[in-house]
């Protein structure tokens, strides 16, 4: 990658009293990407965003925007704009004045302001609302105003702090699609903070999963989901069957169950404690292929939820795996099981991940 990243964090830390909200973070965000910072609350993702925006200064390290060190510069002197979680609209100004606020600050001519505000309201489908007050709009509409108010300044980077969190589920789904479309249309780098893994997976080009002030893993949504690098990522992204055990000679001896073949790993020393992760949907209950890791267990519970059924299979006392089966048209009646039955199941070796 030879292009200068739109955002680079270089060893950035933020210390509050004696705890680190963010600890020695290194991060490159490529221009034009929809980049998500994903993590549970308190993981430091919002603090990271605020340091990029200039609302909070790092105690260590530097923030670079398009290769230029902006550490310590106030927000008004950075070419980034923010969509706040609370939208932070100016209640005493009309929608048009809200959207035009940034342009007016920068001394753009009035005629041009009017034109660009009009275009932007068009983009977010609020063309008829220019003279309304923020208070009279619905949550979704206010969210669009906040987006328009930031985008109209054509920032190099747009920061979004959980912008969809206040919306109800249906509206949130709709806005996810819309936001992604708008991002493609304007081509601006989006840095999107969220705690919702579905949201991050569906919208992002890249995701950084954060935990306790550090980045656990960066990558494409597929990377992160299919190849979680750490136990935390595996459990935070979707559901995983996580089993602890000891690695030795290409096998993991589970604490509470049999030994699983996992392939030889040169990076893991014999005898080290590891976790093994298998996603429920990667476990097969029929039509096995040669070369699969095969096990058997007793079905303890079946949970039918429409398109899928989840089976809880007891592999050994105290070790239960969950297995997800699609209820597709091709699924056969005889491939349905009920509690108490002993079944065989298996997975492809590559779907069994060893996490140090």
């Amino acid at each position: 990658m030879d292009a200068t990243p739109a955002v680079r964090l270089d060893g950035v830390s933020k210390q509050f009293a004696d705890s680190y909200a963010v600890h020695r973070l290194d991060l490159d965000i490529e221009a034009g990407h929809f980049y998500s910072l994903l993590g549970p609350s308190g993981c430091g993702k919002t603090t990271t965003l605020r340091m990029i925006g200039g609302f909070s200064d790092p105690t260590e390290g530097s923030v670079l925007l398009a290769g230029e060190d902006v550490t310590g510069l106030p927000p008004n002197r950075r070419n980034v704009n923010t969509v706040f979680q609370s939208y932070a609209l100016f209640d005493h100004l009309s929608i048009a004045d809200n959207v035009g606020f940034g342009l007016k600050r920068r001394g753009v001519a009035r005629a041009e302001i009017r034109q660009r505000v009009g275009e932007m309201l068009e983009l977010v489908q609020l063309a008829g609302f220019a003279d309304r007050r923020p208070r009279t709009l619905s949550g979704g509409q206010r969210q669009r105003v906040a987006l328009a108010r930031a985008l109209v300044n054509r920032p190099a980077v747009l920061l979004l702090d959980e912008p969809l969190a206040a919306l109800d589920l249906k509206l949130r789904r709709q806005m996810q699609v819309e936001l992604k479309q708008i991002q493609r249309e304007v081509g601006i780098t989006f840095v999107f903070v969220t705690h919702d893994q579905d949201e991050a997976l569906t919208m992002s080009d890249r995701i950084a999963v954060m935990n306790e002030g550090r980045i656990e893993q960066c990558g494409t949504p597929e990377d992160i989901y299919e190849h979680p690098a750490t136990r935390f990522v595996a459990s935070f992204m979707g559901t995983s069957n996580l089993m602890t055990g000891t690695y030795r000679d290409g096998e993991v001896a589970l604490e509470k169950g049999p030994a699983l073949p996992v392939g030889t790993r040169s990076d893991i020393a014999d005898g080290s404690a590891v976790s093994v992760s298998v996603r429920p949907e990667k476990i097969w209950l029929s039509d096995f292929e040669p070369g699969m890791s095969m096990l058997s267990g007793v079905i303890r519970e079946t949970v039918y939820s429409g398109p899928t059924t989840t089976y809880l299979i007891e592999l050994a006392p105290g070790l239960t795996l969950s297995v997800l089966e699609q209820n597709t048209a091709r699924a056969r009646m005889e491939d349905r099981w009920s509690g108490g039955e002993t079944v065989e199941f298996g997975w492809r070796p590559e779907h069994c991940l060893v996490l140090a």
Binding site: P74, P75, N76, N81, T82, A88, F90, H92, R149
Partner: protein, 293 residues
């Protein structure tokens, strides 16, 4: 044995009808309480009504209403001393209002946002006038002016009233500032405003209703105040409230009924306005202005 008492199956009344009965009992109007409240309101308004009524009395009596007349109002309008005092009071109120609102709003903003030790110290200083009775403030102010060799005059009243009113403005505004979403100011800075521009363009407009309400309230309070004015005023011209004090101490002068009625009407109108202002801006109005909550 269960800890939760279950309704027994033999209980004749169904649970719903029982709740309804209880509700009705809880909402039944207690006559004694309402009578006490009614009596309270009567006694609250009686003195005001008496002053207003006898201001229209054609005779000097305060007990026998002889007939409707505007003679005491006419006497007031033609009383040059009282009219001069009215002018003085208005000037004092205006200056004190302007001064204390400017200082108090700035102080409220600073107190809420400044998290340093200096900030908490300033918060303590701000509380002093609120827990000091007026007579102490009055004595202290008078001694300060005398000690500095400043002759007591209208100007000294203004200074003392500003000092006393800053805390009121700050208390009213502080909760409003604290209730503001700090992200709004950050949004302004994000859009190119400096911190000061953000305060001017976003924070102050958001506070405008509370600022106006506190200004009106301070105007009324200063206009009505007499203890502080009494201790810090010079001989001539004295504020209206000090004149009224002298007048009611030294016997009944029906003109005072007229002046008092006008003052009561004026301040009731102003305070009602202060309560009403937030509603003009579409906010939930009111009484919290007075209690600072």
């Amino acid at each position: 044995m269960t800890l939760v008492r279950m309704p027994s199956a033999t209980a004749p009344a169904s649970p719903t009808s029982r709740t309804r009965a209880r509700r009705a009992r809880a909402h039944r109007r207690p006559r004694v309480l309402i009578a006490v409240t009614g009596l309270f309101f009567a006694l609250l308004y009686l003195p005001i009504a008496v002053v207003a009524l006898f201001s229209f009395n054609s005779q000097k009596s305060l007990t026998v209403f002889d007939g409707f007349s505007l003679r005491w109002y006419r006497a007031f309008v033609h009383d040059d001393v009282l009219i001069a005092s009215l002018g003085t009071s208005l000037r004092i109120s205006l200056v004190a209002m302007a001064g204390s609102v400017i200082l108090g709003v700035a102080l409220a903003l600073g107190l809420v946002r400044c998290r340093t030790r200096l900030g908490s110290l300033a918060g303590l200083v701000m509380l002093v006038p609120l827990i000091t009775p007026e007579i102490v403030t009055g004595v202290a102010s008078m001694l300060l002016f005398k000690g500095l060799g400043v002759p007591l005059s209208t100007a000294t009243v203004m200074l003392a009233e500003i000092t006393f009113s800053i805390s009121y403005v700050t208390v009213i505004l502080r909760s409003r500032v604290a209730a503001l979403n700090p992200e709004v100011e950050e949004a302004a800075m994000d859009l190119g405003a400096t911190r000061w521009q953000a305060v001017r363009l976003v924070t102050l407009p958001a506070l405008l209703p509370a600022v106006l309400a506190s200004a009106v309230l301070i105007f009324a309070l200063v206009f009505d105040d007499f203890v502080l004015a009494y201790f810090t005023t010079g001989v001539d011209p004295q504020p209206l409230s000090v004149r009224i004090y002298s007048a009611i101490r030294f016997g009944v002068q029906p003109t005072i009924n007229a002046v008092g009625t006008l003052m009561l009407a004026g301040s009731i109108a102003l305070i009602a306005l202060a309560l009403f202002i937030p509603r003009l801006f579409g906010r939930r109005g009111g009484l919290d202005i007075l209690s600072g909550k």
